[in-house]
């Protein structure tokens, strides 16, 4: 399949999923109500569609695209199909930032949690960018990322441990599970800027990711400014992952699974994989959020829970199929 055709099909899938996701929800609407919503946006059904569901769907698409693009970039940079944004420790530090903000009683301030999460992600991103400029080996980044993740996880646990109020603990937990409910257009606008910069950096690094197919040394001798491209890839995916966690909490598996869904169609090319991965991530997260909303559960399911519940078995299946093809 040509890259353009693949992207076009994914875009169609995204639009279709988004239309379904805006149409369906917890409160079913009648045909007359749909008609009213379309003709009169400020009516009650219009309110449901355009100010409750639409921003939520847009946010899911934005976060899914960010995670998918960050995942594809990380996999290309680390030359490892198991890499995802969380590998660098960015998600964990963003979670820590949010936990600190909530435990510190800043939850009432609009944007405070998001800012704290983004600050945490950027701090981790800066550390990893420094390491990426210094060390060429992907293993080094993975090891430091694992250490950073574990450390941030331990500090988040410490926040739980020392938190005097169970309410704060519950709030942090709920936030860490990831969700895009009750988002409005202001939230989306806040997330767009860091995501756009992150996406730009990742797409700029694309040719470097493709060259890395040959290994570190051949890439270094290729004439491409590999040091700069490497830093762009790390900074870009850190920004994307950080902005995603800031906007929607910690959502697993999308960054890992989205590139795998389109890998074969993109002929395994880490550069051609980037935009399709973003689109696939958006489709996945919009669909997952729709599932979370329409599933008849007493408590609405958290988005991070849904992606993990569905994502983990699907990912195991993909890994199984990939392992079979590697063996042959």
């Amino acid at each position: 399949m040509s890259p353009r055709r693949l992207e076009f099909l994914l875009l169609l899938a995204l639009i279709a999923t988004a239309i379904v996701a805006v149409s369906l929800g917890e409160s079913p609407l009648s045909a007359a109500q749909y008609h009213q919503a379309l003709t009169d946006p400020v009516s009650a059904p219009g309110e449901v569609l355009w100010t409750i569901r639409l921003p939520r769907v847009l946010m899911a698409a934005l976060v899914g695209a960010g995670l998918g693009l960050a995942g594809a970039t990380m996999q290309g940079l680390l030359r490892n199909p198991l890499a995802e944004p969380g590998v660098l420790g960015v998600s964990a530090t963003a979670g820590l930032g949010a936990a600190l903000a909530i435990a510190g009683g800043l939850a009432a301030l609009p944007g405070a949690i998001e800012a704290a999460a983004l600050a945490g992600a950027l701090l981790a991103g800066a550390v990893v960018v420094g390491l990426a400029a210094r060390f060429r080996e992907p293993e080094v980044l993975i090891l430091f990322g694992v250490a950073l993740s574990a450390f941030a996880g331990a500090l988040t646990a410490l926040v739980f441990n020392l938190s005097p109020s169970p309410v704060a603990v519950a709030e942090v937990l709920a936030w860490l599970m990831g969700s895009v409910e009750n988002r409005d257009f202001t939230d989306i606008l806040r997330a767009v800027a860091p995501m756009a910069i992150g996406a730009g950096l990742c797409l700029y690094a694309a040719r470097g990711l493709r060259m890395l197919t040959l290994g570190e040394e051949a890439a270094q001798m290729s004439g491409l400014p590999m040091a700069r491209l490497r830093v762009a890839a790390v900074a870009g995916s850190a920004l994307l992952a950080g902005a995603s966690v800031a906007a929607a909490g910690v959502i697993g598996f999308v960054g890992l699974a989205a590139p795998h869904l389109v890998r074969a169609a993109a002929r395994d090319d880490p550069a051609r994989l980037l935009r399709p991965s973003a689109l696939a991530g958006a489709v996945l997260l919009v669909a997952a959020d729709l599932a979370a909303r329409v599933m008849p559960t007493e408590q609405e399911l958290k988005l991070g829970v849904v992606t993990a519940l569905f994502g983990a078995p699907v990912f195991a299946l993909l890994a199984w199929r990939a392992a079979r093809s590697w063996r042959s």
């Binding site: 030359r79 040719r207 493709r210 060259m211 890395l212 197919t213 040959l214 290994g215 040394e217 051949a218 270094q220 001798m221 290729s222 004439g223 491409l224 400014p225 590999m226 002929r267 395994d268 090319d269 880490p270």
Partner: protein, 256 residues
């Protein structure tokens, strides 16, 4: 003729181990230089320090007359194409795309044209659309050789380009590199097969413990004395109707 690549008095360490202890190298256009030596003699380290991939403790490496450290990535890539020993590829890209990675300086369409021509030259044009991880090791090695040729650089450096290849592919690889030299390029290859080095290289550089043990025309550099002192072989180069061969046996006997 002026050398396109020189390394003088190279001293370098990997970790704490001294891997280069004053080795030098020089190659001129039109020439195939073979670098030989036992495992651990410093062949790969010599190439890597010379290309600026590994720091030199002492000595100097010059590419196109300029210290290699002064060159930016684009300038360096214009002067030299490098085929590392490591042939592991991360992703299953089509062979054509891999070969095209040799020409990132060209617009994508032209790079593909160059890549297609080089795949043809190494004899795997029919595999252009095949994923490189779905190939045999020999086929993949040819694709990577095509990638090296696609760099169109005046100096081609290949680290063990024939390791693991069948005899025909070994000879083909060196014939292709010889053809590049005939067309004006300078070529440096590391080899383990002394017979292949003797018949395919204009000059041979024998490394031992990070030092140059001998250098010159194959027949001189691979003298019985060098074979004995460096390679622990009792033997000699013999001229046959198809070229030079090495006849040798181990000097050290197995202790029981």
């Amino acid at each position: 003729m002026t050398a396109v690549w020189t390394i003088e008095g190279a001293k370098a360490r990997r970790g704490k181990v001294l891997v280069l202890d004053g080795a030098s190298l020089g190659v001129v256009p039109g020439q195939v230089l073979g670098v030989v030596g036992p495992n651990g003699a410093g062949k790969t380290s010599l190439l890597r320090t010379g290309l600026g991939l590994m720091p030199l403790e002492m000595g100097q490496a010059r590419l196109g007359g300029r210290p290699v450290g002064d060159l930016n990535p684009v300038e360096r890539a214009c002067l030299v194409g490098y085929l590392p020993q490591e042939r592991r590829l991360a992703w299953n890209l089509p062979a054509l795309d891999v070969a095209a990675l040799g020409a990132p300086d060209l617009p994508p369409g032209e790079a593909l044209t160059v890549a297609r021509e080089r795949l043809e030259r190494v004899g795997v044009a029919d595999l252009a659309d095949r994923g490189v991880l779905d190939m045999s090791g020999g086929e993949r090695a040819r694709v990577l050789l095509a990638r090296l040729l696609a760099t169109r650089a005046p100096l081609l450096v290949a680290d063990e380009p024939v390791a693991g290849l069948d005899p025909d592919a070994q000879l083909l690889t060196l014939d292709l590199l010889r053809a590049e030299a005939a067309a004006g390029a300078a070529v440096v290859v590391t080899l383990h097969d002394l017979g292949l080095a003797a018949r395919s290289c204009d000059r041979v550089l024998v490394l031992d413990h990070g030092r140059v043990a001998a250098e010159g025309a194959p027949i001189d550099a691979l003298s019985p004395e060098v074979l004995a002192s460096v390679f622990k072989l009792d033997g000699a180069l013999i001229e046959t109707s198809t070229g030079l061969v090495v006849a040798a046996r181990r000097l050290t006997t197995l202790s029981r």
